[in-house]
């Protein structure tokens, strides 16, 4: 624990060494001023108060000087304490900024596969509580350093007065070490459980609030409460346990100096009788021991904070230790105009299963071609789209964009060349403008053109603040079709050379969908892969790929494929129903 604690502390200090050093200086000034104020009061008593009361004579300027001294010492003390606290807080805040920035880099840099495994609530808990607790150890630290010289000073002074009593007095330090070891050992596991417990509470809350609609429609609020109560109760029990251990440690740390001084006085009395020291020495020893007690107490506070900080930092390591894959390095240009797309032998399965979603999928889209991808629910269409877009790596096989392997491309090159529009449209809680123009670089005209292409141009007029209306979470609620079209406009504004539409217009009325697709074909002239259900959409395509249970089992024009019984049954279901 000591070594791990030292590592955490060293890391935190390295984030902001200057503010930390000045904070330590402030602490030292404060400690020195505390001793000075005792000295000042002692001298006022001896040289002003007692003579005055004994003789009845008041030395005029003595009172004045006493008061000046009291104020001066107080001012130094106040400056010291403010410097120490403010800069310790600053050090801690800077460390938090650094840690959160690293978390952010990990969250943004780690692959999708990692995100699919991590509950969102846990990731929030890392950015919140774990970071906070990790850096809390900084607060008592400057004071511990700052008062260290007091410990040295009083130890040396004690040694000069009487070596025997010094040994007795300093025995308190080994005692402190033993105590700390016991405390650290006992508190480590429960403190780790507390941090994990906060993470669990956060995960459950996040998932539960995320599924609020389902919870409501299924009437599951009571069950969700039960689940949450179990996690909260576990956290409460663990935290209470930690509180008890800390209360015990606290009480012992608080009593130790007073007990020490009682022992020192008894030993001192014997030393006086043995003639090794005078009574005046004993008074001095008691005073020195009081000085010694301060750093000890402060150090105790610090030691108390170390284990929680270490376990919280360990939780952050679980994110930091994940290697962030280095992005591809290939040049930012891949030819120009519409892009060809080729896939060879693509296989994929999700991490938590042993069933392939895609098996040996091969396909080839010529530049400018519009191809429909048709398949029944769960046949792997969406997975194929995410693989083709390079969002997740295949288990085997390769995706070529133009003639470049998709994973070898710089991310900028990839995202500039292709756009994937998802079936579920994710809107940022930001303005309509920012949701369409994600880079913030487009003109209003370009935004309006993209929105017109996606047939969502009337939205601007409907909104109170036009393009500057906030939509998404905490914004204006849009219908499913509107959301999809905003997401589509977001893709179109980039003028992608390869467009992957994953059932991206499913909530849009059929007539409007057709207008959109016609216009895309005429104006964008991008290579396009459309996951489609409607015959009208499929018909717009040059070619159709029929995906069944992870295999492409047929390809050709819509007319050609109609001879395939499975395909025919799939796409003509409504026609059959109409009869």
């Amino acid at each position: 624990m000591t070594r791990r604690g030292a590592r955490v502390v060293a890391e935190l200090i390295r984030f902001s060494p200057l503010s930390f050093s000045v904070s330590v200086l402030g602490a030292a000034v404060f400690a020195a001023a505390t001793v000075a104020s005792a000295v000042v009061l002692g001298r006022i008593t001896d040289q002003v108060l007692l003579p005055t009361f004994a003789d009845g004579e008041v030395p005029d300027d003595a009172v004045l000087w006493s008061i000046v001294a009291v104020f001066a010492v107080t001012a130094i003390k106040a400056a010291g304490v403010v410097t120490r606290r403010y800069l310790a807080a600053l050090t801690s805040e800077r460390a938090q900024i650094q840690l959160r920035t690293r978390l952010l880099d990990s969250y943004l840099g780690l692959p999708m596969a990692w995100h699919q495994q991590m509950p969102a609530g846990q990731l929030l808990a890392h950015a919140d509580n774990d970071t906070e607790i990790t850096t809390e150890v900084i607060h008592p630290l400057p004071f511990s350093f700052g008062v260290a010289f007091l410990a040295v000073f009083s130890a040396v002074a004690l040694l000069i007065v009487d070596p025997v009593i010094a040994v007795v007095a300093l025995a308190i330090f080994p005692a402190l070490t033993v105590l700390n070891r016991i405390y650290s050992k006992r508190i480590e596991a429960p403190a780790a459980e507390v941090q994990a417990g906060v993470g669990r509470v956060s995960s459950i809350a996040h998932e539960s609030f995320d599924g609020a609609l389902v919870v409501k429609t299924l009437g599951r609020a009571a069950e969700e409460e039960t689940r949450f109560v179990a996690a909260v109760d576990h956290l409460r029990a663990r935290r209470t346990h930690v509180g008890f251990i800390r209360a015990g440690f606290e009480a012992v740390m608080d009593s130790l100096p007073s007990l020490g001084i009682a022992v020192v006085i008894i030993v001192g009395a014997h030393r006086i009788r043995a003639g090794a020291m005078t009574q005046g020495d004993l008074v001095q020893v008691a005073a020195l021991f009081t000085v010694l007690a301060l750093p000890m107490r402060v150090f105790g506070f610090f030691l108390e904070m170390v284990p929680p900080s270490v376990v919280a930092r360990q939780r952050l390591s679980s994110v930091f230790d994940e290697p962030i894959p280095s992005p591809g390095q290939a040049m930012t240009t891949i030819g120009d105009g519409a892009l060809g797309l080729e896939a060879r032998g693509l296989s994929f399965r999700y991490a938590n299963t042993d069933t392939d979603v895609l098996t040996e999928v091969g396909l080839h889209l010529k530049p400018g071609e519009v191809v429909a991808l048709v398949g029944s629910t769960g046949s792997g269409k969406s997975t194929l789209c995410t693989l083709l877009a390079g969002l997740i790596p295949p288990r085997s096989g390769q995706v070529l964009l133009g003639d470049k392997a998709v994973e070898s491309l710089q991310p900028e090159a990839r995202t500039e060349a292709l756009a994937l529009v998802f079936q579920e449209s994710f809107l940022f809680s930001d303005t309509l403008r920012a949701n369409v123009d994600l880079d913030g670089s487009a003109t209003d005209e370009a935004i309006r053109t993209a929105m017109a292409m996606a047939r969502i141009d009337d939205l601007e007029a409907e909104m109170v603040n036009g393009l500057d209306t906030v939509i998404g979470e905490r914004g204006v609620t849009l219908s499913g079709g509107q959301r999809q079209r905003v997401a589509l406009a977001r893709a179109l504004i980039r003028r992608p050379r390869l467009l992957l539409l994953d059932d991206a217009t499913s909530a849009v009325d059929a007539g409007i969908e057709r207008q959109i697709l016609d216009r895309l074909r005429a104006e964008l002239q991008a290579t396009t892969l459309i996951v489609a259900q409607r015959v009208s959409t499929i018909e717009l395509a040059d070619r159709v790929l029929y995906l069944d249970q992870g295999h492409i089992i047929a390809a050709g024009t819509h007319q050609q494929l109609l001879t395939h019984p499975g395909y025919r049954a799939l796409v003509s279901a409504y026609e059959q129903a109409i009869g």
Binding site: L18, G211, A251, T353, E473, S536
Partner: protein, 620 residues
């Protein structure tokens, strides 16, 4: 020496901090933080957590004994070492030992009392905070869908985590400090008054300015901490967005934009914290300066008026000693005040959530819906989303029990809103909805949930197996019933297609399944339940046509003996319905059977023609 300061972020004045600092984060009411606010929070908070106030007398008594021991020990030690030497010039070992042992006993006793008192406080505070988290959690699920849509997930999560954590941290130290230090302060004053009440009054007078000053400071501090907590929730909201939107961020190369946005809120949080720390610094300076004033007062008056006060040298030394003794606890209280402010700010955010008015309140003594198929009646129903334009206007319709109804209309026609009103995800602003003759807003929630089941378009799944997700529809259903539910929908093939079968883990939000597959799971849930009114809100929108058709047939069988209202995405659903309701721009414009409506040659006929045109071009 500063953080990466955003030049735009000016320090807040109390006037501006509460308003306008931020874009709205949702559920962050614009209430002003005032000193009354802090007291109100405490009163409201204690009323909500009676455990905190219970046994206060015992706690104070313990605080008193700890304080007394803190005062006696230095006095005892002083006496031991200041004892005059014995006549033979050596020390009285027996006397010193006796005093030292007495002091040690007092110390140990005080240590145990303090340990015990702390344990009590921790136990109670943790219990109270756990309850507060649960209360907030329950409240979140009582909020309307409209409230949810307006609030970032991360912000709501912050209420039950970050804000509660702030309170928990305070509870472990702050409460202890609030009980111990005032007792020490009062005790010291009493002893001081025992030596000289005039001197006690002088010291008191010196410390008196602390009250208005702290009050002023406290108000600003609370505002600063309120702002700080808002920034935390904003930061968490943005983190949450980055995590939930991970796929979009990667697909569109939005990493740098997202990094910029979150980094900004990370910095703003830190700046808000440092602004709050500024006030803490002022508190410390105050304590020190006033202690110096008190000491100066004691010295000046003590020396100049010594005869009138009748003090001797020893008494004067004691008074000076006691005056210095006051400074520690007063500084500690200043720090405690600071901790209290951050806790109060968090507490208030939680209490504001808990006290938030519920849009769709459940009736106190709700009535029950009749069993079996439910007739539905809407009378003059109108609805608008929070200050928005009307979404539904004057909708009146009667749906007979057991009917199979399709609701059609263009995007934005109000058909989904109509479905939401039927299962009371919102209440109409005008008019009334009756199920089985009972006004929907008077129905007890348990009865409503048992009799009305809605399958939403968004097939959100919990992070567990397919099987458990289906079971959520009817807790207690056995595995055979779950398998049968898939079979009854003709989805046995889908249930069997993975080697894990129904034990397949669906991942966060169900994302290891496709959107269409999630809808299948949601339908299986509905098939397992036995509602009198089944509402399908485009529940098969992402399902392939063949499966969709098979489901339409299966659902018709399933709907025997119940009323079924389908918000139709594809008009194939409508053709088979007993009754079709056609919505257009918020009005119910047509109703009737497929053939009646085709003959009427209105909105429905137009919609149908467009749909057929999109479907029937197989042979070109």
């Amino acid at each position: 020496m500063s953080l990466d300061v955003d030049p735009a972020a000016a320090p807040p004045t109390p006037e501006t901090a509460a308003q306008a600092m931020l874009p709205p984060v949702g559920l962050d009411p614009d209430s002003e933080a005032t000193p009354e606010g802090a007291l109100k929070v405490l009163r409201r908070g204690l009323a909500g957590s009676p455990a905190l106030a219970r046994g206060l007398a015992v706690t104070v008594a313990m605080g008193l004994s700890i304080a007394v021991s803190k005062l006696t020990v230095p006095v005892l030690i002083q006496r031991a070492i200041d004892r005059d030497p014995l006549p033979d010039g050596t020390v009285d070992i027996a006397y010193i030992t006796w005093i030292a042992v007495a002091a040690a006993i007092v110390v140990v006793a005080a240590g145990f009392t303090s340990w015990f008192a702390q344990r009590r406080l921790v136990e109670r505070a943790e219990a109270a905070i756990a309850q507060l988290r649960v209360d907030a959690f329950v409240q979140v699920h009582r909020l309307s869908i409209a409230d949810h849509n307006e609030t970032q997930r991360g912000v709501l999560v912050a209420r039950v985590t970050s804000d509660a954590e702030a309170l928990a941290r305070f509870a472990q130290w702050g409460l202890y400090s609030w009980t111990i230090h005032p007792v020490v302060i009062v005790g010291t004053f009493v002893v001081l008054a025992f030596y000289s009440w005039v001197m006690a009054l002088i010291v008191l007078a010196a410390y008196l300015p602390v009250l208005p000053w702290f009050k002023w400071l406290q108000r600003r501090q609370l505002l600063a901490y309120d702002d700080y907590r808002t920034r935390i929730s904003q930061m968490l909201g943005r983190f949450s967005e980055a995590v939930m939107g991970a796929a979009v961020i990667r697909a569109y190369g939005l990493e740098s934009r997202t990094r910029r946005r979150i980094h900004q809120s990370i910095n703003q949080r830190a700046q808000a914290r440092m602004r709050a720390n500024k006030y803490m610094a002022m508190v410390f300076v105050t304590g020190d300066v006033l202690s110096a004033v008190a000491m100066a007062g004691v010295l000046i008056i003590g020396i100049s008026q010594r005869e009138r006060l009748g003090l001797n040298g020893g008494e004067m030394v004691a008074i000076v000693f006691l005056t210095t003794l006051l400074q520690g606890p007063i500084s500690e209280l200043g720090e405690t005040l600071d901790q209290t402010q951050t806790a109060v700010a968090g507490w208030r955010k939680i209490l504001d959530l808990i006290d938030r008015e519920i849009d769709v309140p459940e009736p106190v003594d709700g009535s029950s819906l009749p069993g079996g198929a439910l007739p539905v009646e809407a009378e003059g129903v109108g609805f608008a989303y929070r200050g928005g334009p009307p979404v539904l206007q004057d909708v009146s319709v009667r749906i007979p029990a057991g009917a199979n109804v399709a609701v059609v209309g263009e995007t934005g026609s109000g058909k989904t809103t109509f479905a939401k009103l039927l299962c009371r995800l919102a209440d109409p602003e005008q008019g009334v909805i009756r199920l089985g003759g009972v006004a929907l807003d008077t129905v007890a929630p348990a009865s409503r949930l048992a009799s009305v089941r809605m399958v939403p378009q968004d097939g959100f799944l919990f992070d567990t197996t397919i099987r458990e997700n289906v079971r959520f529809g009817s807790p207690g259903a056995d595995d055979a019933a779950i398998t049968a539910a898939f079979e009854s929908l003709g989805l046995g093939w889908w249930a069997d297609k993975r080697s894990e079968g129904l034990d397949y883990e669906v991942g966060e939000r169900g994302e290891s399944l496709s959107v269409g597959e999630r809808q299948l799971v949601a339908l299986a849930r509905a098939a397992l339940a036995d509602p009198g009114l089944l509402i399908l809100d485009e529940a098969t929108s992402a399902v392939d046509p063949e499966t969709d058709q098979a489901l339409t047939v299966a659902l018709r069988v399933l709907a025997q003996g119940r009323t079924m209202v389908s918000i139709a995405h594809r008009l194939a659903t409508a053709e088979a319905a007993d009754l079709i309701l056609v919505f257009d721009h918020g009005h119910l414009v047509e109703q009737g059977s497929h053939h009646e409506l085709l003959r009427a040659d209105g909105v429905y006929a137009r919609l149908h023609q467009a749909w057929v045109g999109n479907t029937q071009r197989l042979t070109g």
